[in-house]
């Protein structure tokens, strides 16, 4: 039992430390990249299945931005279906965006 709890704790710590160590790879953006038009945006809804066009050939993992109350809902953006593919992220600094 002690061995199991030890293994569980070591596994959990290893996962957390790995995520933190490879933060640049696991996160899509730089930590300082600002989007002033999207303040306090709630977590993006992930649509695991493409309900609109199941036979379109588009992979099942599709991301769409949920409707957000806090920013302009009329400018709702449909995200491109590129989740879980490698894409080079934009790198911008706060000073560059000002």
């Amino acid at each position: 039992m002690k061995r199991i709890s030890l293994m569980m704790s070591l596994l959990c710590l290893a996962v957390i430390h790995l995520l933190v160590l490879l933060a640049g790879f696991f996160s899509s953006y730089d930590y300082a990249a600002q989007n002033r038009d999207l303040p306090y945006c709630p977590p993006t809804t992930i649509h695991w299945v493409n309900k609109e066009a199941p036979c379109s050939g588009i992979p099942s993992f599709i991301v769409g931005l949920s409707e957000v109350e806090n920013f302009n809902a009329t400018k709702r953006i449909n995200a491109s279906p590129t989740l879980f593919t490698f894409s080079s992220g934009e790198r911008s600094t706060p000073s560059a965006e000002r």
Partner: protein, 247 residues
């Protein structure tokens, strides 16, 4: 470290915020992961510092005894009695308001680490006191072994298990200390994230009551602290068996 490739992403102008965004529209998931680098590193380095001081002073006190033991133990009592949060606030208050990231980070690692040496030192002193009376150590001394040799060969291996357990206890404690300090605005400055720094946004009432995703950095602390707690329990419970397995 900068990365050209990412695990996932969407084509601009769309944005994907797995954990939402903060007041400046910055990706909270990215800030959570990068903030972990600061918070966890602070915990690890401060623990290393504490244990280093604890080993040196605890071994000196236990091995030599006499006046050195008396002085070090009085210092231990003094440091254990210090309200560390107020001490940190006072030390931070003495420094200039605008300090660089490296300076601020080093400063609070050093302060946290130095304040926390007392408890491990007292435990190590107790172990050293019992080890130095053992017969094999007395025999080695009678053969002319130096103090340094005795400490390196016979004393340090005995406290290795204790150090592992102490490390597992101290790391989450120091991570929490970093979170507390950053929450109070004494940690690394913006835009560099840390878990406490991200949580500091919750000091604003409208964020606290309506932006539930801003609690994510607080939630990540739960598995970290639970895992370290379980680890220290396992190291204490099964004692030498698991410790030797890890070593």
């Amino acid at each position: 470290m900068t990365w050209d490739r990412h695990l996932f992403g969407v084509d601009p102008p769309a944005r994907v915020f797995l954990m939402g965004s903060d007041g400046y529209g910055r990706d909270l998931f990215a800030r959570l992961l990068f903030g972990g680098q600061i918070s966890l590193l602070a915990g690890l380095v401060a623990t290393l510092l504490s244990l280093t001081f604890g080993v040196i002073l605890g071994t000196l006190a236990g091995f030599y005894g006499g006046w050195s033991d008396a002085i070090i133990m009085r210092c231990v009592e003094l440091f254990l009695a210090l309200p560390w949060l107020y001490l940190l606030l006072a030390i931070r208050g003495l420094l200039p308001l605008r300090t660089s990231l490296a300076q601020a980070f080093l400063l609070f690692i050093i302060v946290i680490g130095l304040v926390g040496w007392a408890r491990p030192a007292r435990l190590i002193r107790g172990v050293v006191l019992s080890v130095k009376e053992r017969k094999h150590l007395l025999a080695a001394r009678s053969f002319g072994a130096s103090d340094l040799y005795l400490v390196r060969r016979h004393v340090l291996p005995e406290i290795r298990g204790l150090l592992l357990t102490q490390a597992a206890l101290l790391i989450p404690q120091y991570v929490l200390a970093e979170v507390t300090l950053s929450f109070l605005g004494l940690g690394v400055g913006e835009p560099v994230p840390s878990w406490g720094g991200i949580l500091a946004t919750l000091q604003q009432y409208h964020v606290l009551v309506s932006k539930w995703w801003m609690f994510f950095p607080g939630l990540i602390l739960i598995p970290v602290i639970l895992s370290y707690g379980m680890l220290s329990n396992s190291l204490q419970g099964d004692g030498p068996q698991i410790r030797s397995w890890i070593e």
